[in-house]
């Protein structure tokens, strides 16, 4: 039996079953089953019906896959095009699934008494949740709530953060190599096994595939650090490990030796983990120390601090002239537009023309998409309110401490992600204090309360943390996750964050999902 998952109804999947070799497999009569993942779809079934093959399936079923756990504190729907569907195509299917997923979560971990949200999509999801709750009235399980609060955040409330280059270790791995479904593929050269005797015979050609999550002790320790602090952490770890290996000389008695040996597998795992991450860090360092990276980062930071955001940037101009990767250009131009609350019509048109002339006319549709979702826009008569937002929410911290951070701004070496600031303010002192700024950001903000059966009210012990589930509708970056984890771990925060998202994104994958290339649709 083959389980077939599909990512989109419209794609070739239904045609697959209509191939003659599947239909007329006379030699081996087989049973065909469909298991829809993540959800059964009427359109797909109809397509199969039109093709006349629906009846040849013995069984049609669905495996409902809403939220997939990626780590102890991280859930993702891995719905690739969620942002595009919601903001570009007005198709809110993924939001329905998000609401369903949250209902499942509540069925398992209890009703979440408090729901906060900001943005149109957040409002929609909350409405659906409240309706679904009414629908299931009476069949609820009696579970003590694990989450105190749910915060729903629209990605378009904070378009800036994903555009910026992430500067945490994990964020950089994602920016440079791309993490898919918890795995990263790395160039193999650095990972060649140096075994004696074989003396560098052949270099492996297959990319090195590594799983990245907090089960790996070292990775858990360094993943959320600013990259500039990773080197020190790695060398400290190296010292500890070699000291541990040295212990064997001190092991005198049989018992001591036995104890040493019993720790050996763990130590060896730690050593190979260290070797891997040292290699990765070297690969990243090659890039972060390059002039290109530095220049680009400088421009990003200038935009974020509001320097020269209202005129054509020479740097972007030069990058276009040298035909740097289009996505890099788009990220920078969008960032400038977002930080300036829109570009002057003349500036915008200039950029657009430059891009079309250099990368080709076909990108006109992509540019229109970016305009429609608000990443690019002409300046309206309204005042640029980004500086106000930046100041009120302290989005730029001049003295970001990368080694021993005291603020979330360390994840972007100065820029504190807006989304996470909103979350932080909500926990303390509350959104009422930033009413003005909330009004400047798109979409409504709201608070809802869900009735929890009496007797299930959580009585918090003194010192016990509150748990907030933050759901990013439209995707979340690793740097934002790192910032939230930093908040969880802060000594006096009193709040623990669990993160959920429609998708784990970075600026590149995000912009890519918004691109339209008509040539690809050629038959």
């Amino acid at each position: 039996m083959h389980a077939i998952s599909y990512s989109h109804v419209m794609q070739g999947f239904p045609n697959f079953f209509c191939q003659p070799n599947l239909r007329e497999d006379k030699l081996q009569p087989r049973d065909f089953h469909i298991l829809f993942v993540p959800r059964r779809s009427l359109l797909c079934e109809q397509r199969l019906k039109e093709k006349g093959v629906l009846n040849s399936f013995t069984n049609i079923d669905e495996y409902i896959l809403d939220l997939i756990p990626y780590d102890g504190d991280l859930l993702s729907m891995e719905s690739e095009s969620s942002f595009r569907e919601c903001y570009l195509e007005n198709d809110q299917t993924s939001l329905y699934h998000a609401a369903k997923g949250l209902m499942t979560l509540q069925a398992l971990y209890g009703t979440i008494p408090q729901i906060f949200g900001k943005g149109e999509c957040a409002r929609h999801v909350a409405n659906m949740m409240l309706r679904m709750k009414r629908e299931f009235a009476g069949s609820q399980t009696q579970i003590l709530p694990v989450f105190d609060t749910l915060l729903l955040l629209d990605r378009n409330v904070d378009l800036l953060t994903p555009l910026a280059t992430q500067l945490t270790y994990e964020g950089l791995i994602d920016e440079i190599f791309g993490i898919t479904n918890g795995y990263v593929k790395l160039p193999p050269e650095k990972f060649a096994q140096k075994k004696q005797g074989e003396g560098g015979k052949e270099l492996p050609t297959e990319p090195k595939k590594l799983q990245l999550n907090s089960a790996e002790e070292l990775y858990a320790e360094i993943r959320d650090k600013n990259f500039n602090a990773v080197g020190a952490a790695l060398s400290k770890k190296a010292k500890i490990i070699s000291a541990a290996f040295e212990e064997r000389h001190n092991a005198k008695t049989v018992g001591e030796i036995k104890q040493f040996v019993s720790q050996l597998p763990h130590m060896q795992a730690a050593r190979s983990s260290l070797a891997n991450h040292t290699s990765i860090a070297e690969l990243i360092k090659d890039i972060t120390t390059s002039e290109d990276f530095f220049d680009s980062l400088t421009v990003e930071q200038e935009f974020m601090t509001g320097v020269d955001t209202d005129k054509v940037s020479t740097y972007i101009e030069d990058c276009i002239a040298q035909k740097d990767p289009l996505i890099k250009i788009l990220r920078l131009v969008c960032m400038q537009s977002v930080c300036n609350n829109g570009l002057k019509q003349k500036v915008l048109d200039y950029y657009k023309k430059e891009i079309l002339q250099t990368y080709g006319y076909k990108h006109i549709l992509t540019l229109k998409n970016l305009e429609r979702v608000g990443l690019l826009k002409p300046q309206s008569t309204m005042r640029n309110n980004y500086p106000t937002i930046r100041k009120t929410l302290k989005l730029w911290m001049e003295d970001a401490n990368e080694q021993n951070p005291n603020d979330i701004s360390y994840v972007y070496s100065g820029y504190a992600p807006l989304s996470v600031r909103l979350t932080q303010v909500l926990a303390r002192p509350g959104w009422r204090s930033i009413e003005e700024v909330l009004k400047m950001l798109p979409g409504p903000h709201f608070e809802e309360r869900q009735q929890v059966p009496t007797g299930l009210h959580k009585k918090r012990q003194p010192g016990e943390n509150r748990t907030i589930l933050v759901f990013f509708l439209g995707g979340v970056t690793y740097a934002e996750i790192a910032a939230l984890r930093f908040l969880s771990n802060m000594e006096d925060s009193g709040t623990e964050y669990i993160i959920a998202a429609t998708k784990l994104i970075n600026g590149t994958s995000w912009i890519k999902s918004l691109m339209d290339s008509p040539e690809e649709n050629l038959p």
Partner: protein
């Protein structure tokens, strides 16, 4: 006195060799019906598990003047329904597992009625059956539901295993069958329904594919014909009656013989049935003749009963019910616990406990003696268990109470005795006594009740419209609301909405009031019922109460309330549901109306657009046209242009896009699209002239290609025509020339006019192509700010130091310092450090 004997007789028969079955006959009801001729000349069917009884009087009458009468009664003989039979000749009546009445007609049509006589539906057993007519038929139950087996006039069997999902099977022919077989039965074996047929002394098993002759092991040879057969309730055992009067009993797979008994009666019986308790060690079957009932078991002796009246046997899981014109009795093997306790002079712990309790009530000290006797053998908990179990098997509430009191008494002398069995037995018995009541008439035994489950019992009460009792039982047994009370209320509401005499408002109100507090009510089901009985308005009213918008949609569509269905689907947030409605509307409405409806529902419209984008591009165009969305139309043309292979067609589509963009007042898009058309034409012209592949390249790539093949003039032309910014053109030309290593041309270009990008790029590009010599030419032209960088790029440390010191710029000095090597540039470093110190001071 043994209380069990008060209303039931007990027959004990013993032989020398075996302990024979001990049977008891309990009177369940004195029948409430008033039948003139008893059951004579009646077609009778009684449902198992104490189900209803149907009678068809005079079913053989064929004259239209005297129609037969179909009557339905409860097990206690209370009338449930009665109506004259107007259809064809009925060959057989039978009940389904869900208390529906099946009437099999001569022509193979089966009519289905509910137990209150309401007609539900009919189905046919196939052409073959209707042509050759029904000879005999049997209705049977299996794990798959209720089945019908028919023997046709052509002596062939047709079978449907589940009447709710009819798949007719015609079984193979039985060899040598000349007339109707002497007897036959349906068995369920290996997840398949089979027919066992006797033709004279030959026995065959018919399954889907084959007819297999079989021989029962050890069947006495005197027999020349098998005249009757019956299969046990569980299909595990088979009994055969031969013309010599012998009953053979064995397993239904015919592998094992359990016993054979001579009844000494050679006339064919009226009915035969198994009468065996589950877990009983011994087989026992009941054979009925006119006026005589014989129980056969393991021993040679039989037990005989005389019947005063025409009766029928209804096999049950744990016995046989005997229904006559006046009485209704249960014949069963005496349950183990009852036998232990009530056997004369029994010394079983249960019996002693009962005795002890009796003495205790009499305030006699013997109570202690009996109790001590049990306790000495440490059998008190066993005694309690026996009493509780026996109570479950007794029908008389007084007996039940006596036994339970004894059990409760015994419990007092036990610590840590788990109370569950006692408590649940008390509960079960209350429920059982309630449903056994004459007015309800469901004479379930405890064994049957456990097998049937509370859920099914509730269903049965609901079928009988005994809603209050059903609700009371649910509440008493604390059944979860949505499985219990809510379910009953839903059935009640479904029944209520069919009452034609009340107005929509009254019914809707009554339903909502009664159901308001019940959890998990599915109003959509009630509304469906209302709609099915022709009350659309009521259905819509009821749907308003349905909290799950998703559930409202299918019914609304069925009722042709599509706008409402669409808005409910949107409200649910389930896009798949929205698609359902949209696709339905697309087929139902004409295009204009369909578009109009979508226009009022933006969510549905954008979903439909998504669908069209992938499936129906033309429809998408119509949609945009309708909305005068010129921008989107333009985009559509642009997309379409990329699907065209021919350049002319491509340009034509782009022209359409330009027109649309102008209409949309999007000057920028229109202009750039015009530029693209111009570029395409230029590229084609040049392709034809120079043979260079260009069509489809971006302007930038076109110029790069032209420069790389030396077509400088053409590149210049593009640069001017398309007003490429100087900066970008200089970059482009610089890189192309370096790529070609055309240093001479590059130098000329550098001198042509003042570079808009400065000269540092010249230095860097040359270095990138490993030409330090050329690079050095441009260092002097670099602006002062970039001097240091330029010198460093060409590796001129002295120059870099010179420039940095001259500019007194601390960071530049540091940069140079960091590049110096301590061994070779010792002096330089000293100078730099000094300069740095002064720069810092400033």
């Amino acid at each position: 006195m043994t209380p069990a004997l008060s209303k039931s007789e007990r027959i004990v028969s013993r032989t020398n060799d075996y302990t024979c079955n001990e049977m008891r006959k309990i009177e369940l009801y004195e029948m409430g019906w008033n039948l003139k001729d008893g059951l004579r000349e009646c077609l009778v069917a009684a449902a198992p598990y104490g189900g209803p009884i149907s009678l068809l009087k005079g079913h053989n009458r064929r004259s239209p003047s005297a129609r037969p009468q179909l009557e339905i009664y409860s097990s206690s003989g209370l009338p449930l329904a009665s109506f004259p039979w107007k259809s064809g000749v009925v060959k057989q009546l039978g009940w389904t597992v869900s208390d529906d009445l099946l009437c099999v007609q001569e022509d193979g049509t089966v009519l289905v009625y509910d137990l209150l006589g309401g007609f539900k539906r009919h189905f046919s057993m196939g052409n073959e059956v209707s042509q050759s007519q029904v000879l005999e038929t049997k209705i049977f139950h299996s794990p798959y539901g209720t089945g019908v087996a028919i023997l046709t006039g052509a002596l062939r069997f047709t079978l449907a295993t589940n009447i709710d999902d009819i798949k007719l099977r015609r079984l193979p022919e039985v060899p040598g069958l000349q007339g109707a077989p002497s007897c036959w039965a349906v068995l369920t074996q290996d997840r398949q329904s089979k027919v066992l047929v006797a033709n004279g002394s030959h026995l065959f098993i018919l399954d889907n594919t084959a007819c297999t002759p079989v021989t029962p092991p050890g069947l006495s040879p005197q027999a020349s014909s098998i005249v009757h057969m019956c299969v046990s309730f569980s299909y595990k055992y088979l009994a055969l009656l031969t013309d010599s009067g012998h009953v053979w009993m064995g397993t239904s797979n015919l592998k094992e013989k359990l016993s054979e008994v001579d009844t000494k009666i050679k006339t064919p019986p009226k009915q035969m049935a198994w009468c065996r308790r589950p877990k009983s060690q011994q087989p026992s079957a009941v054979v009925m003749w006119d006026g005589l009932l014989i129980v056969v078991g393991e021993c040679k002796e039989t037990i005989q009963y005389h019947l005063d009246d025409d009766s029928i046997l209804v096999p049950e899981l744990d016995g046989v019910r005997i229904i006559s014109g006046t009485h209704h009795e249960l014949l069963q093997e005496v349950p183990g616990a009852c036998e232990e306790i009530f056997k004369i002079a029994s010394m079983a712990p249960g019996a002693l406990l009962l005795e002890a309790h009796k003495e205790y009530e009499k305030e006699s000290q013997k109570a202690d003696e009996y109790l001590r006797e049990i306790k000495e053998q440490s059998l008190l908990s066993e005694a309690v268990r026996q009493c509780v179990e026996a109570a479950g098997h007794e029908h008389e509430p007084e007996t039940q109470k006596t036994l339970l009191r004894a059990a409760s008494f015994g419990k007092c002398f036990l610590s840590n005795f788990p109370p569950e069995q006692f408590v649940s037995m008390c509960r079960d018995l209350r429920v059982l006594n309630a449903v056994r009541d004459y007015t309800v008439g469901i004479p379930l035994t405890h064994t049957q009740f456990k097998q049937m489950t509370v859920q099914v019992l509730i269903d049965r009460l609901v079928y009988r419209k005994l809603y209050p009792l059903a609700i009371e039982i649910c509440r008493y047994l604390k059944t979860p609301e949505y499985q219990g009370v809510s379910r009953v209320l839903k059935h009640w509401a479904c029944y209520k909405v069919q009452q034609k005499e009340e107005s929509d408002e009254v019914i809707a109100k009554a339903v909502s009031v009664k159901l308001a507090d019940a959890a998990g009510i599915f109003y959509s089901e009630i509304a469906t019922k209302a709609y099915e009985s022709g009350r659309t308005e009521l259905a819509i009213k009821l749907l308003e109460f349905e909290p799950r918008s998703g559930e409202q949609v299918p019914l609304l569509l069925k009722m042709k309330k599509s706008p409402l269905a669409l808005s409910k689907a949107i409200e649910s947030g389930d896009t798949d549901l929205v698609y359902t409605v949209v696709m339905y509307l697309k087929n139902e409405l004409n295009r204009g109306d369909f578009f109009m409806m979508l226009r009022n529902q933006p969510v549905a419209l954008s979903l439909y657009k998504q669908f069209c984008k992938h499936q129906e591009q033309d429809t998408l165009k119509d949609l945009f046209n309708q909305d005068d969305d010129h921008e989107e139309l333009g985009n559509l043309y642009v997309k379409a242009s990329y699907k065209e292979q021919r350049l002319e067609a491509r340009i034509a589509l782009l022209q359409s896009a330009v027109d649309e963009y102008y209409k949309a007042k999007n000057e920028f898009s229109a202009k750039t699209t015009e530029d693209e058309m111009r570029l395409l034409r230029f590229q084609r012209k040049l392709e034809e002239e120079k043979g260079e592949l260009l069509v489809g390249f971006s302007l930038h790539d076109t110029m790069t290609t032209l420069l790389s093949v030396g077509l400088h003039k053409h590149a210049e032309q593009l640069y001017k025509d398309f007003r490429v910014p100087d900066k970008r053109f200089w970059w482009l030309k610089l890189k192309s020339l370096a790529e070609k290593e055309d240093w001479e041309e590059l130098e000329k270009f550098g001198k042509s006019k003042k570079s808009p990008i400065g000269y540092l790029p010249f230095v860097e590009v040359c270095i990138k192509h490993h030409n330090k010599y050329e690079a050095k030419k441009y260092v002097s032209k670099v602006t002062p700010e970039q001097k240091v960088k330029a010198h460093l790029a060409v590796g001129d440390m002295e120059g870099a130091a010179e420039a940095a010191i001259e500019r007194r710029n601390e960071s530049e000095i540091s940069t140079v310092l960091s590049r110096c090597s301590a061994t070779t540039d010792h002096l330089l470093m000293e100078r730099l450090n000094r300069a740095k110190a002064t720069a810092v001071k400033k």
